[in-house]
Amino acid sequence: MVKIERQRYIIFQILKEEIFQIDQQEILRSIWQSIWRYFGMREANKTGLWLLELGEDYGIIRCSNVTKEVVLTALALIKEVKSKNVIISPIKTSGTIKAIKKIKNLKNK
């Protein structure tokens, strides 16, 4: 029987060396570049990556449960955005957006 693919939501924090704005296009480009660089087409087409939210120092993405670790690795291996040093560090992975939003609210407090 074919297993149904489920979704995973990942909240991550963005630590920057200098203060600068990152828009949705740039962060998505960096994540896709990292996935392509380390995993190629074979994994990239399975990820089902979607950026749900992007704040000043955090972001929420959605991906497939099968490629969760691939996306986490790609996030961890991003070193630069706009030629400036950044760390994109995953905080928590969850199966529901509700749980992720709770963590986001806790972080904001």
Binding site: L15, Y38, E69, L72, T73, A76, L77, I87, S89, P90
Partner: protein, 228 residues
């Protein structure tokens, strides 16, 4: 880390705190044998992270190693040895004063032999492999480093020795949370999740317990405790 530069230490610790790292092992850059209590108190006031200390011996030859190791009887911190000399590696791994045999540089990883691995297993000491080489910008060097790590981690796993995977990142913005490093090892180095967690979590705890036991005079040897 340069223990004379408090600002550098503060900067790194703050970043680690932001990343959510809870435990850290600090190592002095210079040949500082005894870390003062005063220094430890200052560090404790700077951060909430649990800090442990280690000292790495980098001997030039076997005579140098034998001479320097004499000063480390009952050493209260973690003692590691880092060398590409195979004779020193074999001596160090047999020595009960040495807790870790460290291989942080790709050139050094290449010198890791089956003999050293099986001796480490017999003597209950740990092999440390550093992941710092994977954060290199140059793609071809990075892929080479991944290949070295893959080959030698596989070798260590095959011989069922105790190993620790550490960050050991030199640059501030190369530091990553252990969970992120676990993902990297799982996807790119093909190590099962349970085993990586052992290398990142359980083995360092075992190493720290070993140090604690060494400080306890009531424990005569492994499994023998003097009850008064």
């Amino acid at each position: 880390m340069n223990f004379d530069d408090l600002n550098e230490i503060k900067e790194k610790l703050e970043l680690c705190e932001k990343l959510g790292i809870k435990n850290l092992i600090l190592e002095p850059k210079d040949d500082v044998q005894n870390i003062s209590l005063e220094f430890k108190r200052i560090i404790k006031n700077i951060t909430k992270i649990n800090i442990y200390y280690r000292h790495t011996l980098k001997p030039d030859n076997l005579q140098d190693f034998k001479k320097r190791i004499k000063r480390f009887n009952n050493y209260p911190e973690i003692l590691s040895v880092e060398t590409s000399n195979k004779d020193i590696q074999i001596h160090a791994v047999r020595d009960s004063r040495v807790d870790l045999i460290s291989f942080s540089h790709p050139e050094m990883i290449k010198t890791l032999t089956n003999g050293v691995i099986s001796l480490a297993k017999q003597n209950n000491s740990f092999i440390e492999l550093s992941l710092s080489s994977i954060m290199v910008k140059n793609r071809s060097i990075q892929s080479k480093n991944f290949r070295y790590l893959y080959r030698f981690i596989y070798k260590v796993r095959n011989l069922k020795a105790n190993y620790i995977l550490s960050g050991d990142f030199n640059e501030l913005f190369d530091i990553r949370h252990p969970r992120a490093l676990i993902s990297i090892c799982y996807t790119l180095l093909d190590i099962p999740l349970a085993e990586i967690k052992r290398a990142f979590k359980e083995n360092p705890v075992r190493l720290l317990k070993k140090i604690e036991k060494r400080q306890n005079n009531a424990i005569l040897e492994n499994g023998v405790k003097l009850i008064k």
